[in-house]
Symmetry: C4
Subunit: 206 residues, 4 copies
């Protein structure tokens, strides 16, 4: 069976690549007259640490999502309208990540800290739901999948995304108490996924 | 016969992907001193609803256009200057969508509401015309099309775009009375196309 | 012989696609308080006509350059450092086009009109020189070209770029008298190239 | 053995292409009322020379990095989590280059000159380290590499990156004395790499 999802992957890669590279536009250079010495510049940069933290966090989260997207589409061979639009939903949310990132960058140090962390973790809850939807729609009927894929492999991908959901929701709820912890949870989840992704792939090849 | 439109599709995909991802740059973060609490932030975001509406509307409209572009070029195998420039016109208009989107975002709630909705629906009228032109130029001579494509399939694509035209013009005219209805018409047309696109494709495969 | 310039073409297409799509960022939405009615908006847009003219002119010029780039690389099969950097120079200048475009948009109607048109036509002189350099380096040694390419075809491409040079320089010089004429010359050259490009391609296939 | 790094290369090319093209956004058009004649414009542009220098320097440095990235991935056939994330680190740093570029553009002529050159050279030290890490992880186990690659070829790539490191660190340290020299060192290194890259490739083919 020929894989007919090539151009979707190409388009999706484009959106991921642009979304991830546009994040840098949120790093702002200080106003010309505000900097009188190298020291002023270092102080400015130091005070902007939430901006850099948000940049790094969002860059690697989009990167891991791209890796996961890649992995899912290696198993999807044909498409229908549902798959197209679940994928469109993922791309929409990924392209939108830079907005919560900019909010986080500007307000993490402020009274609005809980609100921005809630919005930031909230978009990852939505992206997780969209990935779950994509895999649900694609795996509902095995004719969309790579011929010969095992049920165990299907279930492993399914579980991988499903397990993320309660943790993201937990991080979202936690943002109203100690927002910093929410970010740590998200960071931890990404490290877990980076490591586990190797294992899932291995089991795909079996 | 070898398909020689591969690099055109790649370039077009790039323009679609960039145009769709740049839309997020119109979501503006509030000025630092204007937000004193999480509540202020929510009020700011709530007041900005036309911005988010415009973002969502434009994202999915470009996405559907990309799906349609994809579908048309699956049937086009060779090109000439006319096809190249009809495609260039589509890309030009698609890349320009972010401007009417920004106008809509900023003025939908204002006295200029009719004007911005007219401009916004106007660009979709133009894009529809450009798609009609592309298919007219490509299907005029069957040697540009996929070998073995049936006349019914050609007419179906033709009709699909032609039927959209009066509805877009209707939405454009309506924007001078109740602009919100115009946006609903466009939204409805997209849902119709998303659903019907599955059917056309099916008939292509027959 | 295997074509080994595929990834260069892909990367170049990416730069062309991004450069062409970023042009839209120069279309500015009016300040919120400056627009009180739909009429105000139309007046604002009418006054901004140089911005829209510059946008259209630059979009289609980059588009035609992409078509030409495409055409040249269909004949180049292997690369060396010289070809890589001549191509890098083209990409550099193409990515820079948005700056003279923005200058043209803002100052075409002003006392600085001659200066901005000179800069604008100047960058096209440079791009023309870079294309000449690329073809000179690639065709100097036939081993870099498509096997079986005829000497006539090589000379035709060569002439096509060489003939453009004096016209661009003429437009550049003219910008100090009547800048509008310079833009018309450039526009005319693009139409000529769009039409002639079909013919060159045909002769390539013979 | 099938090469399974194709989609990584495509995604990486996208990020390189976008990062290189976004640099132009740092070229600012003068405020409307500040320019009264063509002469004013030329003075404005002349005073902005660090901006143009930074633009050119960063464009060609990202371009050479892309050439090198291309060259390395021609030798990498399979991937693991380590390779994926070393590549992600390179992409992160490359996408971030525009920030130090903007700092350099704005402050090279100021008291903060040393600080911005140190940050600018600093990011190239980091990128060099990331390339070293990528090649270390990929070449540690020959099963990831192109079948039949010679030990000499592996060592040559290794040395090519390793030798760059002390020079970059030297440029970084020098930025605290005469920042202009640091930029010249980086420029010299790029010219060296551009020339030497041809030779390495040749030895790859043997």
């Amino acid at each position: 069976m020929e894989k007919e999802t090539g151009r979707i992957e190409g388009f999706s890669d484009g959106v991921f690549a642009i979304a991830i590279t546009l994040l840098v536009l949120d790093l702002h250079v200080p106003e010309k007259d505000s900097i009188k010495s190298g020291n002023d510049l270092l102080i400015f940069i130091k005070n902007q640490w939430p901006t850099f933290l948000a940049f790094i966090l969002s860059f690697f989260s989009i990167f891991i999502m791209w890796v996961n997207h890649h992995k899912i589409f290696k198993q999807i061979y044909t498409r229908n309208t549902g798959i197209m639009f679940a994928n469109g939903l993922i791309l929409f949310l990924v392209s939108a990540v830079s907005y919560p990132t900019a909010l986080l960058a500007q307000y993490f140090n402020d009274e609005a800290s809980s609100a921005v962390v809630a919005i930031y973790t909230g978009i990852f809850v939505l992206i997780n739901l969209a990935f779950n939807l994509l895999w649900y729609l694609a795996s509902k009927n095995k004719k969309h999948l790579r011929p010969g894929i095992s049920d165990i492999a299907i279930r492993k991908i399914h579980n991988n995304y499903l397990y993320g959901l309660p943790i993201y929701i937990f991080a979202l709820v936690f943002s109203f108490w100690i927002p910093a912890i929410s970010l740590l949870i998200i960071l931890g989840l990404w490290i877990f996924w980076a490591l586990s992704s190797g294992k899932i792939e291995m089991s795909m090849k079996e």
